[in-house]
Symmetry: C2
Subunit: 357 residues, 2 copies
C-alpha cells in the first residue's frame, strides 16, 4: 500500500536541468555563473578547521545576516538566510498559505513554484504574461478577486530574462491584499545604469519580501545559500517557527560571509557576464535566433519555424553543449541559453552554425 | 495585519540548547560528540577546491548514498540524505501526513516533534511512557484506534538514554497500521555487545524508516548531514517529490563521505564515550544523582527532592558548565548531561560538588 498523502501521490517532482559529471561539456543550461568564486572564498576555505564542525552552527547565521544587512542598508532582523532559494520559497508557502488557499504567478515562470504548491497541497493559479513578457493588466485586481494569498514574481523574469520596473511592482504590492514575493535570483546581473532597486518597496510595505541567492551572483550554486529581505512580520515567523532549527551549515555560513564581503570581485563577474550577454544576443540574432532584452545571465532565443528548437537542443547536446529546452506551451519554439565565458559562447555559436548550415 | 497561517501564529518555535560563542564553557547541553572529526575529514577539507562550488551539487548525494548503502548492506535507493535529521523529520510529515491527520509519539520525547506537527498543522498525540521509560502497553492498538498516520519513536530514547529492544519495535511495526519512524540519532553509542540492530526490520517491512545522523556519531553537528534508511515506498516520494531539489551542499557531501569512510575513527570515539558514560554515571550516582542505564551519549540524572534541578542547572551555568534542564512535567527534577571528555566530566563533577556541599 502507499502511505503518501493524496496530493503527493498525484504530483510530479521538479525536473532540473541536466548536471553531467563530465567536465568536457559546455554547460549553459542551469544559469550558473561562468566564473569561479573569488580569492576571498578561496582564502576562507583554506582557513577552515574541521574541529569547528563538532558543534552546532549558529542557528540563524547572525554574522552573515549582519553583513547582508549592512550591504543592503536594512536591519539584520529583516534578513533570513536559507539553504538555497528553494528553501525560502517553500517556507513562504508553509508559513503564509493554508492548504485550502491559493498561490499564483504570472506565467510562464519558474516551474518550481508549481511543484512547491502541489507538495504543499494548495491551489496554484496562473495569469499569462503579455506577449512582451510584461505583467498582465489588472493583475492585483484579479489576484484579489481570486483571493490569492501569495504571489510569486520572478524579476528579472525566468525564462525570458526581461525586467519588470520597480514602479510596476510598487503598484502591484500596493493594490494586492496578499504577500508579494519578488524572486530576485538574477538581479545581480541587471545593468547598474538602470538603477533598478526594489528594496525601497520592501522597507516601505508589510507585504513584500525579496529573495536573493548566492548561487548565481556569487558563483556558489554548490554551496546552497540564499536569503530573503522583508518586514519582520514576514521574516520572524519563518526565522523562529517554520525553518529547520539549524538550516544552514557552519562552512556555508563562513564561505558566504567571505563571498559577500568581496563585492568588487562579484561585481567584476557581473560586468563580464553583461558584456558577454550583449555580444551573445547580437550573435544569436544575426543567426536568426532573436531574444528579448535580458537583464539576467541567460537569453531566451526564439527558433524560427523552419527549425525545431527541440532538434537544436538535441544537436547541441550531441556536440557537447547543454542548453535548456522547455517542452511547454509558449516555450516550445525557444531555447534558454545561459551566458558563459567568451570561449564557451564561441563554442556554442560554432556548434549552432554547424547545425544550422 | 499578520499574514501567518492560524496554526503558525498560534505555535511556538523550537528552543534548542544554548550555543554560547565562548570557548571557555564546558558544553554538555546539546549532545555533541566530545571528540573532533577525524583525520579523513581533515584531509577531505584540505583537498576541497572553491571552484567546485560554482556548479550545483549532486541533487540526491548519490556517491554518499552508495557509501551509506554499502555500510548498512542496503541498496542506494533505500537511502535518502538530508540537511540534518530535522529536515528528514519534517519531510516525513510533509509527505505522509495530511493536515487533518494525526501523528504521535511516546512521551516525554524530542520536543521538536511537537513543533514540526504544529507547523504542519496536524494533530499531535502523546502516549506516556512507563515509569522505566519503556514503551506503553498496547501502543499499536491505541495508535490504530486513534487513527494515527505516523509515529515517532526515538531510540535510544531522548532524554532518558534508554534503549527499546528491536523485538519490541518489530512487534509495534507489525501491528501498527501507519508509518513507524525510528529516530536513531544516538544509536552509534549503543554498546556493541547488545547486538542491537533495527535494520532487519526496515528491510522486511513497508512501513518502517530509520533516521541516522552524522551530527553526533561522526562529530559533524556543524555540517548538517543526516540520512534515512527505508523501503522505496517511503524513500522515493521524499527523494523525488518533497525534498528541496538540491537539499545538501557539495562540501557537506564530500566531508560526510570522508567521515563515513573512516569507520575505525568514528568507532573509537563511540568507545571512548561509552567508557566515560559508565564512569560518569557511577560518579553522579555516588553524589545522589542516579540516572537510568543509558545507551546514548548523555545521562538523565535525577536530582533528589532536597535540591532543585533548576537551581543546579543555574549554578552549573554560572560556573561555566552548561547542561540541559527541561521545565516540563516528568522532567522538572532532572538534568540531561551530555557525556564529555574525561576532563570535561571531571570539571562538571567538581562544579557539582561545590554546589552540593
Amino acid at each position: 500500500m502507499s502511505y503518501e498523502r493524496p496530493n503527493i501521490q498525484a504530483m510530479h517532482g521538479y525536473s532540473s536541468g541536466e548536471q553531467p559529471d563530465s567536465t568536457d561539456v559546455i554547460k549553459l543550461n542551469t544559469n550558473e555563473n561562468p566564473y569561479p568564486p573569488g580569492p576571498a572564498v578561496v582564502a576562507a576555505l583554506a582557513g577552515l578547521r574541521a574541529e569547528s564542525l563538532r558543534r552546532y552552527p549558529p542557528p540563524t547565521a547572525l554574522a552573515l545576516r549582519r553583513a547582508l544587512a549592512s550591504l543592503h542598508a536594512v536591519d539584520p532582523d529583516n534578513v533570513i538566510v536559507t539553504n538555497g532559494g528553494d528553501e525560502l520559497l517553500r517556507l513562504l508557502l508553509a508559513t503564509f498559505v493554508a492548504p485550502e488557499e491559493a498561490v499564483a504567478t504570472a506565467s510562464p515562470s519558474y516551474s518550481l513554484y508549481d511543484v512547491l504548491a502541489a507538495a504543499h497541497g494548495c491551489r496554484m493559479l496562473h495569469y499569462p504574461l503579455n506577449a512582451d513578457w510584461s505583467l498582465p493588466r489588472e493583475l492585483a485586481a484579479r489576484l484579489n478577486a481570486d483571493k490569492v494569498k501569495l504571489c510569486f514574481v520572478v524579476n528579472p523574469h525566468a525564462p525570458s530574462g526581461t525586467l519588470v520596473p520597480a514602479a510596476s511592482l510598487q503598484a502591484l504590492a500596493t493594490d494586492f491584499h496578499g504577500v508579494l514575493v519578488i524572486d530576485e535570483a538574477y538581479v545581480d546581473f541587471v545593468d547598474p545604469e538602470l538603477q533598478h532597486d526594489c528594496l525601497p518597496l520592501v522597507r516601505q510595505r508589510d507585504n513584500v519580501l525579496t529573495l536573493r541567492t548566492l548561487s548565481k551572483g556569487y558563483s556558489l550554486a554548490g554551496l546552497r545559500m540564499a536569503y530573503g529581505i522583508g518586514p519582520r512580520g514576514l521574516i520572524d515567523p519563518i526565522q523562529y517557527k517554520t525553518k529547520d532549527s539549524y538550516n544552514t551549515d557552519y562552512i556555508a555560513q563562513q564561505l558566504a560571509l567571505a563571498a559577500v564581503g568581496d563585492q568588487p570581485y562579484a561585481r567584476s563577474t557581473w560586468q563580464r557576464v553583461r558584456q558577454s550577454r550583449a555580444e551573445l544576443r547580437t550573435a544569436l540574432a544575426a543567426r536568426g535566433l532573436p531574444s528579448p532584452p535580458s537583464q539576467s545571465n541567460f537569453l531566451l532565443a526564439s527558433v524560427p519555424a523552419r527549425w525545431s528548437a527541440e532538434a537544436l537542443y538535441e544537436g547541441l547536446k550531441a556536440a557537447g553543449v547543454l542548453v535548456r529546452y522547455f517542452k511547454q506551451p509558449g516555450l516550445q519554439d525557444k531555447l534558454r541559453i545561459s551566458v558563459g565565458t567568451p570561449e564557451e559562447n564561441q563554442r556554442l555559436l560554432r556548434s549552432l552554425d554547424a547545425l544550422l548550415h
